[in-house]
Symmetry: C2
Subunit: 334 residues, 2 copies
């Protein structure tokens, strides 16, 4: 592999000049530039980014941490960020945290050790305090899908409480009064906030929250299935089911069909996130929009603005969810 030294020899100039040509920095005469570029071409020269990072303490790459590499939520997040970052001529380095504090920290360490210019994180397990300490270090950190009051300026988040509230309120407005709820794992802030919104809507209609109508799932299909099984077991009747995300709803609906429930006539269902699949479930899933793609792109824009001084429009920090009406939710009839 050719190095900058080989290029300088072939072009008959110094290392510094080659470097200047590469980086468009300093003043280089047209003639020398041409010579250097010719030499680069001839040698098929590619800069060694590792050496560049070490010398310049910049890497032109952005570290991203997601909980998982699969699934529509993180898929949209990763590709939303990557599109923005790539358009700016930078690269992403992606790693995972698996929603475990220790792995999240290890992932962040990895990104830091690679000298990323900035981090964009979706963390669910590490504490606010950890994040606050992290943000005091020299690398700029941005959080998507999480709100830490002390770091509000670095957060791009969804109002999950409002989302949870809207979901349940929509069911209530359609005449439902017996509403079951399958949440996500409650150690995750998103799951907690959505549940709070649910309770708030119930309270507004003077309905008491019942433990027999609550199940803590896992944000996956499995949770939906297990939740439905649990409810079927207690025998407490309900006309509507509120799921903390769409995957849970998919699992619940599938299980409901196994129980020979006629959907949506015998059971209305509402999800959360509006992942692509929601539109292909049967009946098509009514849900709450979670603009994760837009949020991720906003985080990337914020980063580009602050780290690389790009001029980007105004920044929206908190996104508001809204109801997407489809076919899985109908008016309750006696």
């Amino acid at each position: 592999m050719a190095t900058i030294y080989d290029v300088s020899v072939l072009a008959g100039v110094s290392l510094a000049t080659v470097s200047r040509v590469m980086n468009n920095s300093g003043n280089v005469s047209d003639k020398t530039r041409k010579k250097v570029e010719a030499a680069m071409d001839e040698l098929g020269y590619r800069p060694n980014t590792v050496a560049q990072s070490l010398a310049s303490n910049r890497s032109n790459s952005i570290g991203i941490l997601v909980s998982e590499l699969y699934g529509p939520y993180f898929g949209q997040m990763m590709s939303g960020i990557e599109a923005e970052v790539r358009a700016a001529g930078k690269h992403v380095i992606i790693t995972t945290g698996h929603s475990e504090a220790q792995k999240e920290q290890a992932g962040i360490e990895f990104l830091l050790s690679r000298k990323c210019d900035a981090l964009i994180l979706h963390v669910e397990a590490v504490s606010d305090d950890y994040l606050i300490t992290l943000c005091k270090q020299s690398v700029p950190v941005y959080l998507v899908g999480r709100f830490v009051p002390e770091l509000a300026e670095r957060c791009i988040s969804l109002d999950n409480r409002l989302g949870g509230y809207l979901a349940t309120k929509t069911l209530l407005e359609h005449g439902h009064r017996d509403i079951a709820y399958i949440s996500g794992p409650l150690f995750k802030p998103d799951a907690r906030h959505r549940l709070e919104g649910h309770k708030q809507a119930l309270a507004q209609y003077n309905i008491i929250f019942e433990n027999t109508l609550f199940f803590e799932g896992d944000f996956n299909e499995t949770g939906g299935e297990q939740g439905m099984a649990a409810f079927a077991n207690t025998g407490r009747p309900f006309s509507a089911l509120c799921c903390a995300n769409d995957e849970t709803a998919a699992g619940a609906m599938e299980y409901g069909r196994k129980l020979n429930l006629d959907l949506p006539n015998q059971l209305s269902v509402i999800g959360f996130d509006n992942i692509i699949v929601a539109n292909y479930l049967y009946p098509r899933l009514t849900t709450i929009e979670n603009p994760i793609m837009a949020m991720s792109q906003m985080a990337a824009k914020l980063m580009l603005k602050q780290v690389y001084q790009q001029k980007n429009g105004s920044i929206q920090h908190v996104f508001e969810p809204k109801v997407i009406m489809r076919d899985s939710l109908i008016r309750h009839t006696q």
Copy 2:
């Protein structure tokens, strides 16, 4: 950030000794090791991986190229590889090619410039020749989901021809004779091979391939919708639809429902890939299993074996697809 130098001063030893402790290389007395470790702890020392890579010409990271960061296919691929690689104490660096030759090459350049120890690629647009040249360079390269005869030892692939054949044969065995086909983009080898298998099955039953029953889609829902719209336009009747992947099938089924088709009674559908969603479509999608997760893990194992001398079991290079029967395909009745 503390450096190896700070550690050496605090521990009262040389740089070299600190390096030896970090890498468990050479012989270090227990006493010095303890001293060094204590110093590291005290300073919160983290090695600078960029400097390590530059000096050692190794990076302990594996470059991965996928076409997209979203979607079940690539999601499974990424997380399958990552799990194996992480278990071996190495890291992945992921980038995208967007199924365009130029972007695929740029992605590969990026991974090479970061001095990855090996590359695992899912490339669709670059030529075989390019790959053959690439494999002659010093970095080991592995290909998943693509078969290049000259590089057979580095390929982990699916027999797509067989898959395409099985799909159509299954329809034929269920009495269908008028079979429409929505393919993926034909510049992709997968799409071409699946189509070849389809034609082979037709030929075996002495059925002539008709252009009016063929549509070139995009491997996405959109392709399925457009294909169904095109078929509806020509008016050529058909009792079964063979889709080159599940996403296409999802789009086609949704569009079929818009046309008031009663599925599966008026139209049988078969997909390809068996993505998670296939199980949640209505009717549940009959499809061809594409064990992308297993294939990716196999690629990772092969890499670990060859690059890091890990002892892993035997390697399977070509995977065979099989039919997953569900509800979207029924026997054709007159």
